[in-house]
C-alpha cells in the first residue's frame, strides 16, 4: 500500500509540476471567461446601441401624432426646411435628418433619413417602427378608440417551459439549455477520457523505452505500478477539472460584476435583473446570457457535476487500463496504431451516437442501451442526464461501469505484467491473448 501511494505521488507530482499542465489549467478558464465576457459585452452593446439625435423636418399636416424619443434615439422637431438644414448638418449637432413629406396615412411614401453617415439597419428599422407606431395610434384614435383602451390593448406574454417529473411535480426546463449542457458535458467527458487515457499509455511507454521498468518491477508488483500510474493520472485530471470549475466561476463572477458596474444605470438594472435569471423576460431568446443563466439555475448543476465526476473516474479507469495494456505491448508510440483503433472505436461510436441519436430522442431505447454499456455509458449518460434519467437507470449504469472497469483492469493487468518485459518484438493480438493466459 505504501508503495502504491509512493507511485501515485510521483505520477501526480511529476505531471502537475509540468509547465504545460499549469498553462493549460490557468489558460482554459481565462478563455472560457473571455468568451463569457464577450457574450456579456455584446449583449450590453446590443441593448445600449449608439445614441442618435434626429432632427425631424415635417411637411406633413395629416400626421399629427408626434414621434417620441426612446432609449437610443431622440427626435427633435425643427422649424427649418430640408434645404436649409442639409448644408449645416455636420455643425448642427444632429446625427440625422428625418424628412416627413405630405402623405396619406394609408400610403406613407417619400420618407427620408439623411445623415453625414449612412444609417445602420438597426436605426433604420427602429425609425420605421416608430413611424408605423404613430401612424397606427393616430388611425386608432381617428376610429374613435380612447387612449386608455389603447393602453389596455397592450399585453406582454412569456411562456414558461415546464417538465413534469415522476412524482407529478413540475420543474422548469429549457430544451435548448438542456441540449447545450448535455452535449457540452458529453464532449468534455470524451476529451477527458481520451486525453488522460493516452497520458497513461505514454507513461507506460516511457517507462519501457527508458528501461526503468525492470528496476521498478524488482521493487513493486506490476499491478501496483499500473494502478499507481492510473490513479495518479486520474488525480491530475480531477485537479484540472476542479481548478477549471473554480477558476471559471471566479473569473466570470468578477468579470460579470465589472461589466455590470460599468454599465449605465438604466441598463444596469436590466442586466442585473437578467443575471438574477429568475425574472421572466421577454427578450429571453434574444439575450443569450439571461437565457443560459436562467436555464442553468433550472438544471440541477450539483447533480450534473457529481455524476460527471463519477462517470469520469469510472470511464477513465475503464479505458485507461486498456491504454496501459496497449502501452505495455509496444516499444514506441508509433507502434500503437493497430491497437488504438479497437479501443478508440467504441469511444468514438459512443460519442457520435450520443450527440446525434440521444439529443434527438433522449428517452429512446438506443439512448438507454448506450447509457448502460460501459464502453459508451460515460459519454451517453452525460448527454442524457440533463433531460432527466430515472434514478434506477443511473444506478444500474453506475454499477455496470464499476464491473466494467474491474473487468478491464483485470484483463489489462494480465497483459501488462508480461508486456512490459518484452522488448524488440512486434506484438500482435494473438500474442496479447497468450500473455493474458500466462500463469505468471
Amino acid at each position: 500500500m505504501r508503495k502504491i501511494l509512493l507511485i501515485i505521488q510521483r505520477e501526480y507530482l511529476s505531471r502537475v509540476k509540468k509547465k504545460s499542465f499549469i498553462l493549460m489549467t490557468l489558460l482554459t478558464p481565462l478563455i472560457i471567461a473571455g468568451f463569457y465576457g464577450l457574450i456579456i459585452y455584446f449583449s450590453i452593446q446590443g441593448a445600449k446601441g449608439t445614441f442618435n439625435k434626429i432632427a425631424v423636418v415635417s411637411n406633413n399636416k395629416t400626421l399629427t401624432e408626434k414621434l417620441t424619443s426612446g432609449n437610443n434615439t431622440s427626435y427633435v422637431y425643427v422649424n427649418e426646411t430640408l434645404e436649409t438644414l442639409k448644408p449645416s448638418i455636420r455643425k448642427s449637432g444632429f446625427d440625422y435628418i428625418l424628412y416627413l413629406p405630405e402623405f396619406s396615412l394609408d400610403k406613407p411614401a417619400g420618407i427620408q433619413l439623411l445623415g453625414a453617415k449612412q444609417a445602420g439597419l438597426t436605426l433604420n428599422n427602429r425609425v420605421e417602427e416608430d413611424i408605423e407606431n404613430i401612424i397606427r395610434t393616430q388611425k386608432l384614435k381617428e376610429s374613435g378608440i380612447a387612449q386608455e383602451k389603447l393602453d389596455k390593448l397592450k399585453s406582454s406574454v412569456s411562456i414558461d417551459n415546464k417538465k413534469i417529473d415522476e412524482n407529478g411535480k413540475d420543474e422548469d426546463s429549457s430544451a435548448g439549455a438542456t441540449m447545450i449542457i448535455g452535449t457540452a458535458s458529453g464532449i468534455l467527458m470524451f476529451m477527458f477520457i481520451l486525453i488522460y487515457g493516452i497520458q497513461v499509455m505514454r507513461g507506460v511507454i516511457e517507462e519501457k523505452t527508458s528501461r526503468i521498468i525492470e528496476v521498478m518491477i524488482s521493487s513493486v508488483k506490476p499491478f501496483q505500478l499500473m494502478m499507481g500510474k492510473i490513479i495518479g493520472i486520474a488525480l491530475v485530471g480531477l485537479t484540472q477539472f476542479i481548478l477549471w470549475i473554480v477558476l471559471t466561476t471566479a473569473i466570470s463572477t468578477i468579470a460579470a460584476k465589472m461589466f455590470v458596474d460599468k454599465a449605465p444605470v438604466q441598463q444596469k438594472t436590466m442586466i442585473t435583473a437578467q443575471l438574477k435569471a429568475g425574472t421572466k423576460m421577454n427578450q429571453e431568446s434574444s439575450n443569450p446570457i439571461a437565457y443560459v443563466q436562467k436555464s442553468l439555475s433550472n438544471l440541477n448543476l450539483t447533480k450534473i457535476i457529481s455524476v460527471f465526476l463519477f462517470f469520469f473516474i469510472g470511464g477513465y479507469f475503464f479505458y485507461s487500463a486498456l491504454y496501459a495494456a496497449i502501452g505495455s505491448a509496444v516499444d514506441s508510440e508509433t507502434e500503437t496504431q493497430q491497437f488504438m483503433m479497437p479501443v478508440m472505436m467504441p469511444l468514438l461510436v459512443g460519442y457520435a451516437l450520443s450527440l446525434s441519436v440521444i439529443t434527438n430522442d433522449p428517452y429512446g431505447s438506443i439512448a438507454f442501451w448506450l447509457s448502460m454499456i460501459p464502453f459508451t455509458s460515460p459519454i451517453a449518460m452525460m448527454v442524457r442526464l440533463p433531460y432527466g434519467v430515472p434514478d434506477w437507470q443511473l444506478a444500474l449504469s453506475m454499477v455496470l461501469l464499476i464491473f466494467g472497469f474491474i473487468g478491464t483492469v483485470w484483463v489489462a493487468s494480465r497483459i501488462y505484467r508480461v508486456g512490459i518485459l518484452m522488448y524488440g518484438k512486434k506484438t500482435s493480438f494473438k500474442e496479447m491473448i497468450k500473455w493474458f493466459a500466462y500463469r505468471n
Binding site: R2, K3, L6, I7, R10, S14, E206, E207, S210, R211, I212, I213, E214, V215, M216, I217, S218, S219, V220, L421, Y423, K434, R439, N440
Partner: protein
Amino acid sequence: MLSVKNIVKQYATHRALDDVSLEVEQGKIFGLLGPNGAGKTSLIRIITQITAPDSGEVLFNGKRLSAEHINQIGYLPEERGLYKKMEIGEQVLYLAKLKGLSTPEATKRVKFWFEKLEMGSWWSKKVEDLSKGMQQKVQFVATVLHQPELIILDEPFSGFDPVNAEVIKNEILELNKQGATFIFSTHRMESVEELCDSIALIHRSKKIMDGSVLDIKNKYRNNTYWVEYEGVYDTDVSTELFEVLYRDIQAEKIVLKVKLRAGKTINQLLYALLPTVNIHRLDEVIPTMNDIFIDQVKTKI
C-alpha cells in the same frame, strides 16, 4: 544464503530454464555465466520475483522466497534506465523509498553515497543531461542504497570507462567485505577472475558447470607447461614423455608449450631435459575462465 532448487521455466515454445539448481553462499561473490540467451536473465527474474518458476523453488536464508524478501535484494538489470525528466536526487530517493526506506533515512543515505562517489553536484540535474557512464553510477547507487543482503548485478561494467569501472569494483569489494552477497551476471571473464569466488555456467537453459573458481581451474589443469630453454634435448626420450603443442625460436632461446602424457610428472620432464639443456623458465599453464567458458560452451553444442 540463496538456494535455487530444480527451477523450470517454460515460455510458450521455449524452455528458458531446465531443472537448474545452484547454491550461493553468504558473503561470497557468485558469477552467473553463460552465453547470450542461455537463461541467465530468466533465472535472475525468478530470484528478483519478477516472474515465478513453473516448478522448483528458491530459498532465501532457508525460507521460501516471498514478498518480504524484495527489500533485501538489490537488482541492477542489464536493460536499465531512469526517468528521463526527473531530477537525479529525487529519483534515487524515490527508488530508495520504494525499497522501504523512510524519507529522512533515504535522504541521509543518498547524500552519503553522492558524496562518496563525487556526485554531489548532480542532485538537481535531469537524467537526460548526464552521460551514460554518469547514469550508470546513479543506477549503481540506487541498487545498493537500501543495504540489501543480496545484490544482483547484470553486466555491471558495461558502459563504464576504466576509471569509473575501478571505482565501482572497489565499492563492490567494500560492500562484500561488509557482508553483502553478490550475484554477478556477465560474459566478461576477466572481471569474473578478479571478483568471483564461485560460479555457475548456464548454457541452453541448463546448468553445465558450477563450483568455486579455484576448484574449476584446478579441474581444468591438463598437465600443460611452458618451457623456455637453450640447447638441444633427446627427441627419443621426449616423444614418449610429452607432446609439443607450440614451438617458438627466439634467437638462442626456444619456447615450448608441452603437454605431458598420461601418468608422467613434471619431475620426469625435468629429469629428461636437465642433462643437455639450460632451463630459463618452467610454468604450468593454468586455463583462464575465458578458456574454460569457451571450451565448455563449444563442446556442448
